[in-house]
Symmetry: C2
Subunit: 385 residues, 2 copies
């Protein structure tokens, strides 16, 4: 096991009816900016619950955060904060809204060009406004970590940052408010959680039996519950487990003390920046191809994954590894998520653009060994056409 | 899954050489009281490492915290704090030292008779001094939770409290400093961790698949690594996994959203208060007998435990449950820990005293259903003679 720090101060309020508890967690004298995305937050009644819980406080609302939130939009939110002397931010939405809120919280107090936050990866953040979240879409884990990703479509750039100042003070996780999510978003969330776990697990053995056991347990549960969540959307226990897994998949717990990959995410980000394909869908395309391509490097962990996650124990090493990769692809497809680049109108010319963009963003040494080059990425993408 | 709050702000510094990082986590202008137990902290060089890391700060030392720390000793520490204008506490030791430090941190700022903290279960704590810990004995999980247990031998009382003010700011977990622990303490720590997990797992099904999966994974790892830790004390990865499990077993994670038992702990506390038997040993006596006695109430989870923890899948329900209980008892014995009351010089008269003390401390409705009465406890203890 490697040395690690684990420090996650976010307070999770989990369960039915917990939005009402905002009243205890947002200061009574706060001037609150409620940040949200599209119309669903209003339509589903979540914004109504939030307003009711915050009765007595000054509330200003800022909607319109896009999926893969845009840099320009966050700058508009900062203007609203300054115009209204806002003291507290509340994100109501999924990962995009929460990511945008983290950036807004840091950029509002940043002395300089906020773009520098992104080019520095967040290392130059020295303060952030206090903020909480009400999670409506379990997927990214942003509700209990300190990282975020912001997109600038003009620059074809999707850049990540993190900072210890960017943990939410609290996050409300009410599984019941996920009942009305479109199947597409539920499936995306399951795949996003799955790949988050895999990126911290499927590397090389590091004698981190605790972390491996947690990862395998969550993967098995996603495989079992993911399809059921689509069949019976109002099964509370299924939604509760999926919601809690999405959070635990990327809150630092299973990544503590182990090597991490993240190549699929970095490649996937470029695909999204290129043609706005859903984040989770880019992962479902890249991961199986990357597993196959990196089967030498990931050999021991692929066999462990085959056995402990999929119960595949028969045949030669290669047969078991093939079966595990095939099972992974079939799981994504069962959730209604296509796993080939051609399913998303991406061909050879777009692959060249992705390679160019990866290089431009410094992503030239990916993977747990920092040895996946642009040439390797081209091969991985060509195999997933 | 039940509603839950999860909020654990303790910063974990895990790995080799991390004691040196105290320098970054204890304020440079602090007047530090280093609180420890017996001579081993000095003998093993841990106190030396701590002093070196804290160079430049005013250091006062307070040794002599007992196993099952005594109320009177904590009052002496508070006197030292007041006499020396101490501003920061650093616990260097195992659960007893950390528990004592939590109580000292709260009692030093308590306006009234500190005994009230214990009789209120900690609910009247409104502040505590800042404190960190250097863990030398993985077992109780106290390094990453807000609870503690204090004993008053004169009153034959061992009382627990918890408070959100009593989380350590940080805890240093260096597996290498556990190499020199006596085998007895290593075995105790494994059993203590094991029973902590079981008390939050072996109740009744609550569709908490995540928590169940984490619990089962940690139990399997303890079963595999516990005996090896005694055979090869300087195997870093074994010690690292055991240390991290001891912490995760009682930091709120696997207990979030599930029913909890704690009957074995409450009964065990009275045994320790009676004749000072090691805490873990009292658990190794009570748990197997309680599992057997409560086999109706715990039926479904006992079968799940048999299958997922021990791989026992053959035979009738009763056969599998018997086999799982027998395997549990054999595991404790393999670690060198006896599992019968008679092994600890406890007979029928002492059982009566334990029952009397449980009643005196209000422990008359134990277990996940609050229906284990003193009469039930008598039967459980008589079966473990």
């Amino acid at each position: 096991m490697k040395n690690f720090d684990f420090h996650n101060p976010t307070h999770i309020l989990f369960g039915k009816g917990r939005i009402a508890d905002l009243n205890e967690h947002v200061p009574v004298d706060a001037k609150v900016l409620i940040i949200y995305g599209g119309g669903s937050a209003e339509r589903t009644g979540v914004l109504g619950q939030v307003r009711a819980a915050l009765t007595g406080r000054t509330l200003v609302e800022f909607g319109g955060i896009e999926p893969n939130p845009h840099y320009a939009t966050t700058l508009n939110a900062i203007q609203v904060i300054n115009d209204n002397d806002i003291t507290f931010l509340l994100a109501v939405g999924g990962g995009s809204v929460i990511d945008a809120t983290k950036f807004i919280a840091a950029a509002a107090l940043y002395d300089g060009d906020p773009w520098e936050i992104l080019t520095s990866g967040g290392s130059n953040i020295k303060a952030a406004m206090p903020f909480g979240t009400v999670l409506t879409l379990p997927a990214t884990g942003s509700e209990m970590n300190s990282g975020a990703v912001i997109t600038d479509p003009d620059k074809v750039a999707k850049l990540a940052f993190r900072s210890p100042y960017c943990y939410p003070l609290f996050s409300v996780l009410d599984p019941e408010i996920t009942y009305t999510l479109p199947a597409r978003q539920v499936a995306n969330g399951v795949v996003d959680s799955f790949v988050h776990i895999v990126e911290q697990y499927l590397t090389y053995p590091s004698a981190a039996y605790v972390q491996d056991g947690f990862a395998e347990s969550m993967l098995r549960t996603l495989i079992k519950l993911g399809p059921k969540a689509l069949e019976t959307p109002e099964d509370y226990d299924i939604r509760a487990n999926l919601m809690w897994i999405a959070t635990l998949a990327l809150n630092g717990l299973i990544g503590a003390g182990v090597p991490q990959d993240w190549a699929s995410h970095m490649i996937g980000h470029e695909i999204t920046a290129l043609n706005n394909t859903d984040h989770a869908r880019t992962l479902a395309v890249v991961l199986p191809s990357l597993m196959n391509d990196q089967r030498e490097h990931k050999h021991d962990k692929l066999l462990q994954y085959a056995s402990n996650v999929w119960g595949i124990n028969e045949g030669s090493d290669d047969v078991r590894i093939d079966a595990a990769i095939m099972a992974t692809r079939a799981f994504f497809e069962k959730l209604g998520i296509k796993t080939r680049l051609s399913d998303y109108d991406i061909g050879a010319p777009e692959i060249e653009r992705i390679i160019t963009d990866l290089k431009a963003h410094g992503m030239t040494a990916l993977g747990e060994r920092h040895d996946i080059s642009p040439t390797d990425v081209r091969r991985i993408l060509e195999a997933s056409l």
